[in-house]
Every structure is written in structure tokens, then in C-alpha cells.
């Protein structure tokens, strides 16, 4: 069932491409994406809680991005479309969705690596999809940095496999995190430490952690809006998922150095990203740096090495995924209506619906109630204080404050003022507003997640299994 659910998005995209002659192709694409979403839910009982949680987020947001994409394609007048074609876009989107599912539903590091590596295949073309010079340059930078990063992760995985086989794990299981955790006592700490740190470096590159982050603002800001939403909301989450699984082994083999590295890169990421947020003049670029900031915050929470920290980290990843997706989807509508994402050229957004959605996303990213990020950031701060990680806590608080200032300034600059003079507002198709509205509703409802036993079960189940 899991294999069917994983393959469904890509198979659906291919099928809908073959059915190009149908008059209601958009409806077919939407229905097939809906079936892929339902198949993921049907496969949930076969997955462990953490995999199930991530698979659900991936399928919900990818479904919403597909619906949104069905609406934006008639409206590409601001894009250079030389290199683009609709069928290729949806096939790549389906491949992206499926490869993320491969990464989060497997039980071995090799399969996680293959899934994350496969996302590079699909997303490089999606980042450069508009065919403009800047988009292609962003795609090149993304390909180069992420390929080297992910190759480093593979070297780490190979070394971990060696360490596993040396610890008398059968070769077929040598890359399974459960088998590695069971045999942790027999794993050579020196080899294990090098392997796990290389994996952290590699997956950290794809998660956009400083100092391997420089591709992220370019790629996320130059991709089409629904792809930016998935890159920031999901791809970074998938990479953080890989880091969480790596930590599962590291907690038994080399907890000290792994967690200390996570705290260090997390602190560095949040500070660097928050400072760069203050200097941005483009909305999508500012939101991309905000992604680095939130990845840093998640790394700090994981690096604490406590159950509360792990709980807060996973909860924060989920909150960030929905809120950031909402922000990029709303910006996509703003960009379409106004033809720009330059902060200096945007004003009076409050006067239309997309601006209101965008403002709600900004409030969520600021860490204000009633959005889930408010609760998860609070939990991270409490977890850091309880773990006496004062330096990381200071960096986190400073980063949150700087990011808050940057986002408040962005909100004031873009939302206030008179309505745009040459507004090209068209009536947006229902699927686009359904996608944005659903992302907003889910981002709001997530505030309640820690207090609803059913919703928090998956996260809690993982948190208590973090070895100490």
C-alpha cells in the first residue's frame, strides 16, 4: 500500500499528461492529485508515527500546490515562458511529490538519500521553470551546492554502513536506523561520529542550514510560487526529517558532538538569516531567509537532545510548513496581480483578499497567536531553558526578535498605503483560493495540535523514543 501511495503522484501526473486531449484536463489533474492524497491517508497505518506525520504534510501541501498550479497557468504573462510547458511542469511536480514520499516512508538511510536526491532532479527544472536568466542561475547554484551537499551525505551513509557491518549487522540491514540503534553499543564511536557528522553536513545543506545555505534564497525566490511553497514548506522539512532520523542513531553513538554541532549550526543559521532578512528588498527572498531562520530554530530544538526539544522541533517543522506555504501561495497571487515582488513597489495589499492572506501568514511567521508557530517557538524557548542551553537560547531569542522586526516592517510597507494604481486584478479561479484558504485554516488549527491527543500522538511517539 505504501508503494502505491508513493508512486501515485508521479503516476497520476504522467497519466494526466497522456490524457492531454481531454477537454477537462484540469479537472482530471485535480482528481488524480486528490486520489494520490487519499492513497497517502490509506497507507498511514503501515507507517511509523513520524513517517505518517511527514507523509501527511507532504501530500496535503502538494495537493494544495497542485490545485493552485491548475489556476496559475493561464496567468503567466509576467513570466518568460520560453523554457516552460504545462505537461512538463505537472510531471515534475508529481515526481517531486513522489520523491519526498520516498524519503519519509522508508526505513533505511539509503532510501532516504535516494528520495532526497531525487527531489533535486525534479526541483532543479522547477526552480528554473520560468526560463529567465535569474531563475536559471538560481537553478544552477541549487544543483551545484545541493549535489555536493547530498554527495557528502552519501559518503557519511557509506561510512555508517561500514560501521554497521563491523557491528555485525547483516549487510541488508546495515543502513536501517532501527538496526543501527539496536547495535549502537557495537558501533565504533570514532567511525560512527565521522559518518553521522558528514550526514548532518549533507542533509543540512539541503535543509538550508548556515553555512551551506546560500543556494536557498536564490532557488526559493526564483521558483514559481507553488514550487517556492513546496521547497520552503516541504523540501526543507524532508531534509530536517533526515536529520531527525540521523539523530536517532547519533543519540546512541555520538550524542555529545552531534547535538553540539546541531546547536552551533542552528544558532548560526538563525542569527545570520535574521540579520539578512533585515536587508532584503524582495518579498520572496525575505521569506526564503525566514525559512533558513526557522530551519535554524528547529536545529536548536533538536540539538537540545531532550524529549521536549524533539517534540517542539517536529511540531515547529509542521507549523512552519503550513505557514510558509501559505505565505508563498499568497505572494504568488500578489505577484500575478501586481507584476512584482519588490517590497518598495508593493503597497495597499490590505485592500484585497490575497493581501489579507499574506498578512495572516506574516503574523504566523512572526510567532504571534493564534498561529501554531507561537506555541512551537514558545516550546523551543522553554525546552532550551530547561536544558540550560543558554547560549543557544540567547541566539534563538535574538534571531526571533530580529526576524520579528523584519516581518513587521514588511507587513507595514506592503499592507499599508493606497491601493495599487495599475492593479491587474482578475477573478481568481476557485482552486487557487481554496488552496490558500486551506493552508491558512490548517496553519491556524495547528495551534491546537499539542492539546489534541490524536494530533499530537505522532509527534509524542517520536519524542519519547529519542534516546538520551
Amino acid at each position: 500500500m505504501i508503494a502505491i501511495a508513493v508512486g501515485a503522484p508521479f503516476a497520476g501526473a504522467l497519466l494526466s499528461t497522456l490524457l492531454f486531449w481531454l477537454p477537462s484536463l484540469r479537472l482530471v489533474r485535480g482528481v488524480l492529485a486528490g486520489i494520490a492524497l487519499l492513497l497517502t491517508f490509506a497507507a498511514l497505518p503501515g507507517m511509523d508515527p513520524l513517517s505518517g506525520l511527514f507523509a501527511s504534510i507532504i501530500s496535503i501541501l502538494s495537493f494544495l500546490a497542485t490545485l493552485y498550479s491548475l489556476s496559475i497557468f493561464p496567468a503567466t504573462e509576467y513570466e518568460d515562458t520560453r523554457w516552460s510547458s504545462r505537461p512538463a511542469y505537472f510531471v515534475l511536480l508529481g515526481a517531486f511529490w513522489s520523491s519526498m514520499l520516498v524519503a519519509v516512508t522508508s526505513t533505511s538511510f539509503a532510501a532516504v538519500w535516494i528520495g532526497i536526491s531525487a527531489t533535486t532532479l525534479a526541483t532543479t527544472f522547477l526552480v528554473g521553470f520560468s526560463g529567465g536568466k535569474a531563475a536559471l542561475e538560481a537553478a544552477w547554484k541549487y544543483l551545484m551546492l545541493c549535489s555536493f551537499g547530498i554527495a557528502i551525505a552519501l559518503i557519511g551513509i557509506l561510512l555508517l554502513g561500514r560501521a554497521g557491518m563491523n557491528a555485525h549487522i547483516a549487510p541488508a540491514d546495515a543502513l536501517s536506523w532501527d538496526a543501527l540503534a539496536r547495535h549502537a553499543a557495537q558501533i565504533r564511536p570514532d567511525l560512527g561520529r565521522v559518518a553521522l557528522l558528514l550526514m548532518l553536513l549533507g542533509f543540512g545543506t539541503k535543509a538550508g542550514l548556515v553555512p551551506m545555505h546560500s543556494w536557498l534564497p536564490d532557488a526559493h525566490s526564483k521558483a514559481p510560487a507553488p514550487i517556492s511553497a513546496l521547497l520552503s514548506g516541504l523540501l526543507v522539512s524532508c531534509s530536517l526529517y533526515a536529520i531527525v532520523r540521523t539523530q536517532h542513531v547519533a543519540a546512541l553513538v555520538a550524542p555529545g558532538v552531534f547535538n553540539a554541532t546541531l546547536l552551533f549550526v542552528g544558532s548560526l543559521s538563525i542569527l545570520v538569516a535574521a540579520m539578512l532578512m533585515l536587508a532584503q528588498s524582495d518579498v520572496k527572498r525575505l521569506l526564503s531567509y525566514s525559512t533558513v531562520e526557522h530551519a535554524g530554530l528547529t536545529a536548536i530544538a533538536l540539538g537540545l537532545g531532550t524529549p521536549l526539544g524533539a517534540f517542539a522541533a517536529i511540531y515547529h517543522v509542521v507549523n512552519h510548513a503550513f505557514t510558509k506555504a501559505l505565505a508563498f501561495l499568497a505572494v504568488g497571487i500578489v505577484q500575478h496581480d501586481r507584476g512584482t515582488t519588490k517590497i518598495g513597489k508593493l503597497h495597499g495589499l490590505w485592500n484585497d483578499a490575497s493581501g489579507k492572506f499574506f498578512l495572516s501568514a506574516l503574523i504566523g511567521l512572526m510567532g504571534l497567536p493564534p498561529f501554531g508557530i507561537f506555541v512551537s517557538e514558545l516550546l523551543i524557548v522553554v525546552a532550551a531553558a530547561l536544558a540550560h542551553a543558554w547560549a543557544a537560547l540567547a541566539c534563538a531569542l535574538a534571531g526571533i526578535l530580529l526576524a520579528f522586526i523584519a516581518l513587521v516592517r514588511l507587513a507595514i510597507d506592503t499592507e499599508s498605503g493606497a491601493q495599487f494604481a495599475h492593479l491587474n486584478v482578475k477573478r481568481w479561479p476557485a482552486p487557487a483560493f481554496f488552496a490558500v484558504g486551506s493552508a491558512a485554516t490548517l496553519a491556524l488549527l495547528l495551534t491546537l495540535a499539542p492539546f489534541v491527543p490524536f494530533a499530537s500522538k505522532a509527534v509524542a511517539a517520536f519524542a519519547v523514543t529519542v534516546p538520551h
Binding site: 523554457w83 533505511s108 539509503a110 532510501a111 538519500w113 535516494i114 536526491s117 531525487a118 533535486t120 532532479l121 532543479t124 527544472f125 528554473g128 526560463g131 536568466k133 535569474a134 536559471l136 542561475e137 538560481a138 537553478a139 544552477w140 547554484k141 544543483l143 551545484m144 549535489s147 555536493f148 554527495a151 557528502i152 552519501l154 559518503i155 557509506l158 561510512l159 554502513g161 561500514r162 557491518m165 549487510p171 541488508a172 546495515a174 543502513l175 565504533r188 570514532d190 567511525l191 561520529r193 565521522v194 534564497p217 536564490d218 526564483k222 539578512l276 536587508a279 532584503q280
Partner: protein, 201 residues
């Protein structure tokens, strides 16, 4: 002999500035790594993946590069960003760094660990030291070969997943990177990284 060939061809790749000689060095390097990585008593699946990997790395990749150069008149000069003396010095530095890593207790019983890290560092050097994007593609292809070597040296007994991963890397480098390079020619006919200044800050 094979290790010597790997060391020499990797050094040539980092130092050289002409596409043709770089491709010859790349083919020697990849051929040598594939020779070391050939599985003992392979199953049919392993053999199929190995052949696919060898074909992509040794035939498809270089052929696609040559085709791109001929069709779009891309300069064959890989445009090194620093002079020869500095490039040589950096290769020697890479060799020393790899030797130091080999001394770490984690690699005490892995004889060829230094060669693996030397190959990985050199592939990064190729990207860092050249301005022509074709050199970056060669660096990416070489990185794939370095990973193949790592698989053979670090974990020779690991089952199929690693072969798939290797093949994937070769596909990313060959298909994706070359497709992007082809698209970039429209804006940047010399494929010079200095012309890629749209994104800053």
C-alpha cells in the same frame, strides 16, 4: 598502479584548463574507479546497474559535453580563475589534507581512505578553480566517480541501494546539469560563471 592513475588524473583535472585533456583525465579517473568498484561475483541486477553506471559516466556524459560544445560553440578553455602555480599548490594541499584524514583513528583500517577523500576534494577544486560551467559539470561527474570509489572502499558489502544511488548521481550530473547548461547558453554564450551575477545578497 590503479591508485596512481586515480591520483594523477584527479590532479590533472584540477590543474588543466583545456576541455579535451580534462575529458581524457576524467575518463582515466572514472575508468580506474570503476575498475576498483567492480563487484566480486556480481548478481545480474548488480551487473546491470554497473553497466548502466559505466555507460552514463564513460560514454553518455563526455559525449553530451562534446556535443554541447560543438553545437553551441562554447569555448573549450575551462577558464581557470587562478594561475597554474596556485592550482598546483592547492592540489598538493588537497593531497596533504587527504593524508591527514587517513591518519584519523576512524580510518585506521581503511587503506584507501585517503585516496577517496583526495578524489572528493579534487572534484570540489575543479568547480572552485574554473569559471567555465562545463568544468563544473566535469567536477560533478567526477564527484559521482569519487562516490563510486567511496562505495568500493568503505562499504564493499552493502547491497543494491548504493549502486542505485551512484547511478542517480551520474544522471543528475549528466542529464540535469547539461540541460541547464544548454538553457544558460541563451544568456551566457561563454558559460562563464562571471556572467552569473543576477542573484546577490
Amino acid at each position: 598502479m590503479v591508485i596512481g592513475l586515480i591520483l594523477l588524473s584527479a590532479a590533472l583535472l584540477a590543474i588543466d584548463s583545456r576541455l579535451r585533456s580534462a575529458l581524457i583525465a576524467y575518463a582515466s579517473f572514472t575508468g580506474a574507479t570503476l575498475l576498483l568498484a567492480f563487484p566480486h561475483q556480481p548478481s545480474w541486477t548488480q551487473l546491470a546497474f554497473f553497466i548502466a553506471l559505466a555507460t552514463v559516466k564513460l560514454v553518455v556524459g563526455p559525449a553530451a559535453l562534446i556535443l554541447l560544445v560543438r553545437r553551441y560553440n562554447v569555448p573549450e578553455d575551462l577558464a581557470p580563475s587562478i594561475n597554474l602555480a596556485w592550482r598546483l599548490l592547492l592540489v598538493v594541499g588537497t593531497l596533504l589534507a587527504a593524508h591527514e584524514i587517513r591518519q584519523m583513528s576512524a580510518f585506521s583500517n581503511v587503506a584507501a581512505a585517503g585516496v577517496v577523500f583526495y578524489a572528493i576534494f579534487t572534484s570540489m577544486l575543479i568547480v572552485l578553480l574554473h569559471r567555465n560551467l562545463l568544468a563544473h559539470v566535469i567536477g560533478l561527474l567526477m564527484l559521482g566517480s569519487a562516490i563510486t570509489l567511496a562505495g568500493a572502499v568503505f562499504s564493499p558489502g552493502l547491497p543494491g541501494a548504493i549502486e542505485i544511488a551512484d547511478t542517480f548521481d551520474a544522471v543528475i550530473a549528466t542529464v540535469v546539469a547539461l540541460s541547464l547548461a544548454r538553457a544558460l547558453i541563451a544568456f551566457n554564450p561563454n558559460l562563464d560563471v562571471r556572467s552569473m551575477r543576477e542573484l546577490r545578497g
